[in-house]
């Protein structure tokens, strides 16, 4: 099994690179913009298969070290994007997302073999919805930024490079909303399941780090609940949701970095 793991480990960045080139062709050559990418689902399945195999091989979920987490992040980013592409039927933004996915997986594949896996236990599965949530927030921030750029281009009559390479404005708004909402659902799951899973079990995470995680998670939840309620109850415009998606993600990043330094 270990040779199969090594092969797939190196196959994955290549597959993501192919997807990145394909999305790049769509963006630069303005072709096949409104056709769902047929290769996306198979590549994500290969990636999921790899992580399942790795879990079976090491007897624990693939969240033992930072490089495994990078790989899970790559998969979850790709999966959230796949849902967005499926719903929005537009692949013009794929280049931005898959640049990130490729970098995650390339970094993971480069160091995964050399790194030893720490013992974590199945309780750390709780990390999965958190990763999906932060991935969704990252994607919401990307779409939010594209939405703001597209809106600005259209308002200022700027027919530059991005003009007809981005998806339509209303679609970007919808994509931002879908990603933000799914992130909100997953961060809620994380916040609810965290105490349940760890209440009867000691964790290997230091107290300061745990507190920082709880604080960041809660602040993220508070930021996005405002957007969700605003959209559902106050019918906020996409422009405002996009601004929250971008600023929310920036705030989370700053908090994560600061908490990492402090703890």
């Amino acid at each position: 099994m270990s040779s199969l793991l090594i092969i797939v480990n190196w196959l994955l960045p290549l597959l993501y690179l192919v997807l990145l080139v394909d999305y790049g062709a769509t963006f630069f050559l303005r072709t096949k913009a409104q056709i769902r990418n047929p290769w996306l689902a198979p590549v994500l399945c290969v990636h999921a298969f790899f992580l399942v195999l790795r879990s079976i091989h090491f007897g624990q979920p693939p969240l033992g070290n930072v490089y495994e987490i990078f790989s899970v992040l790559a998969l979850s980013t790709g999966a959230v994007y796949a849902v967005v592409e499926f719903v929005g039927r537009d692949r013009r933004s794929g280049i931005f997302v898959f640049l990130l996915v490729f970098l995650f997986q390339y970094t993971s594949s480069s160091f995964l073999g050399a790194s030893s896996t720490q013992s974590t236990g199945w309780a750390r599965l709780h990390v999965v919805p958190a990763l999906v949530a932060y991935t969704a927030f990252a994607i919401a921030a990307i779409y939010g930024l594209l939405h703001i750029l597209a809106q600005r281009n259209l308002k200022q009559h700027h027919f530059g490079m991005l003009f007809d390479r981005l998806p339509p404005l209303d679609l970007l708004g919808r994509m931002t909303w879908y990603a933000l909402f799914s992130g909100f659902v997953f961060i809620t799951i994380t916040i609810v399941t965290g105490p349940l899973l760890f209440s009867h079990q000691a964790t290997d995470v230091p107290d300061a780090k745990l507190t920082a995680k709880i604080v960041v998670g809660s602040i993220a939840w508070l930021i996005y609940v405002v957007a969700v309620l605003g959209k559902l109850l106050g019918k906020w415009p996409s422009r405002r949701i996009s601004s929250i998606a971008v600023t929310g993600f920036v705030v989370i990043m700053i908090l994560l970095i600061v908490s990492g330094i402090l703890s």
Partner: protein, 471 residues
């Protein structure tokens, strides 16, 4: 065998000359029938568009086709004889092939990248087929040209982006809305460009049209016209072949995307609601409008911030305003509202200019495709010569003979080997005798279309092209 084209187009002659030689389909049919009857040309096709009249000819030998053809045309049109033939072009051989491929690839069009020419070329081909003047060579050439047109269309960006004010409205709409079905268009005024823009949007599946005019009866008439147009298109969409529906959808980038996705959606299938209102009623309906095209003769702004801003407060409802009237009918301040995207005639001109520039940048890529295809066609044309075909046929049989001897030779005694070889050689030459005699007979009349078709069939039957490649 001589292939040639004689024609006149927007580059070679001014419109007053071109219109004298225009050949609408009834006259084109007559011309083709005349050509067929006199048997000087074995094949012919007439292509007549607003910018060109061209006759593609296949003849048995070189001749003064130009004067001959002009004689026919002036007779058909009962015009005075042509004295100045310098306005016409006459391309022969591969130059003619290149010209046709450039026409199909839209490089010879007045508006480079406008792919309607492919549809016009298909109509011309159909006309020639009906008249019985498109046979082996023109069949092959025209199908090749259609393929070249498609290749240029798909492998270059030549047809991308709107290059007219009317279609740029659709392009802008495509940047704001992911689909136009279910959207409402308000057409204020009745300028020609605005009407064209509205028609282009309707082709993309807009479901409601409101026509506003100072005179209500004029607005009602226009709304009714749009409804009738849509009904006629729906009827046509149900009866015409899917290919022509494709052509129709190509004008709409938004719709084209939807079609590519689900394979079924077409603009003309959407039901359309159309109604008329007076200009003063615009503020009361503008809240529900997605797209406003403004083109009235009014000298004062029709839509001011003061009279409509109150109706446009809902930020979740974007409104695209295209004001193509001069002086402008929409106060610029309205564009400051976050959900309003206001474009005037200068903005659209800018978009068109940028798209034209992009198309110009794509021309070298399209030319390269055409060079490649002309070369391929030239090779195919050369392959139709009789003598090399006979040689290849003989080689094919010799190969078969050798293969069979090496396979079964071991089953015979060494003393019988010579007889086996003689037997197989004799059998092959007997089998080849009639086909070779037939081909040699063709060589005496190589200009015959049936002869060329026969050579082509024989080459394909025995896969002689692959043998030539091995060589």
């Amino acid at each position: 065998m001589e292939i040639s084209v004689i024609g006149i187009n927007h580059r070679s002659a001014p419109v007053d000359v071109r219109e004298r030689f225009a050949l609408p389909s009834d006259l084109a049919k007559k011309l083709l029938r005349t050509i067929r009857a006199e048997k000087i040309f074995s094949e012919a096709l007439v292509l007549d568009t607003c910018n060109r009249t061209e006759v593609y000819l296949v003849s048995k030998a070189k001749q003064d086709s130009l004067r001959h053809l002009l004689g026919h045309i002036t007779q058909l049109k009962q015009a005075s004889p042509v004295t100045d033939t310098s306005l016409f072009y006459h391309h022969q051989g591969l130059d003619m092939v290149r010209h046709l491929f450039r026409v199909a690839g839209t490089l010879d069009s007045q508006m480079v990248g406008e792919h309607q020419i492919l549809g016009q070329l298909k109509n011309a081909y159909r006309l020639a087929l009906d008249a019985g003047t498109a046979r082996f060579l023109l069949n092959k050439l025209l199908h090749w040209a259609f393929r070249v047109g498609k290749r240029v269309q798909t492998q270059t960006q030549l047809g991308r982006g709107s290059v007219s004010i009317a279609t740029s409205a659709v392009e802008l709409a495509g940047q704001v809305f992911s689909k136009l079905s279910g959207k409402t268009v308000l057409l204020a005024g009745a300028g020609e460009t605005a009407e064209l823009a509205a028609q282009a949007l309707l082709r993309c599946g807009v479901s409601e049209l409101i026509v506003a005019n100072r005179t209500l009866s004029r607005a009602e008439r226009l709304a009714e016209d749009f409804l009738q147009n849509r009904r006629a298109k729906n009827l046509k969409a149900k009866t015409v072949c899917p290919a022509s529906l494709d052509e129709q959808n190509k004008v709409c980038p938004v719709l084209a995307g939807q079609k590519a996705e689900d394979g079924s959606s077409t603009g003309s299938e959407q039901p359309l609601r159309a109604r008329a209102i007076g200009l003063d009623a615009i503020p009361s309906v503008i809240g529900g409008v997605d797209l406003l095209i403004c083109s009235t003769g009014s000298t004062e702004p029709l839509l001011t911030y003061q009279n409509v801003a109150g109706f446009l407060r809902h930020e979740n409802h974007p409104l695209l305003i295209i004001d193509i009237s001069v002086p402008r009918n929409v106060e610029a301040r309205l564009g400051e509202l976050p959900n309003v995207f206001l474009y005037n005639i200068d903005d659209l001109d800018l978009l068109v200019a940028r798209n034209l520039e992009r198309r110009r940048e794509e021309i070298p890529r399209a030319e390269a495709i055409i060079d490649d295809e002309v070369e391929q066609f030239g090779k195919w044309l050369d392959s139709l010569q009789v003598a090399p075909t006979i040689k290849l046929l003989q080689r094919r049989f010799a190969q078969l003979q050798e293969a069979q001897i090496s396979r079964y030779g071991r089953k015979f005694a060494s003393s019988d080997q010579k007889e086996l070889e003689e037997f197989s050689r004799g059998l092959c030459s007997k089998m080849l005798h009639k086909p070779v005699a037939f081909l040699r007979e063709l060589a005496t009349d190589s200009a015959n279309s049936e002869g060329l078709a026969a050579v082509d069939t024989i080459r394909r039957m025995f896969d002689l092209d692959s043998l030539e490649e091995q060589k």
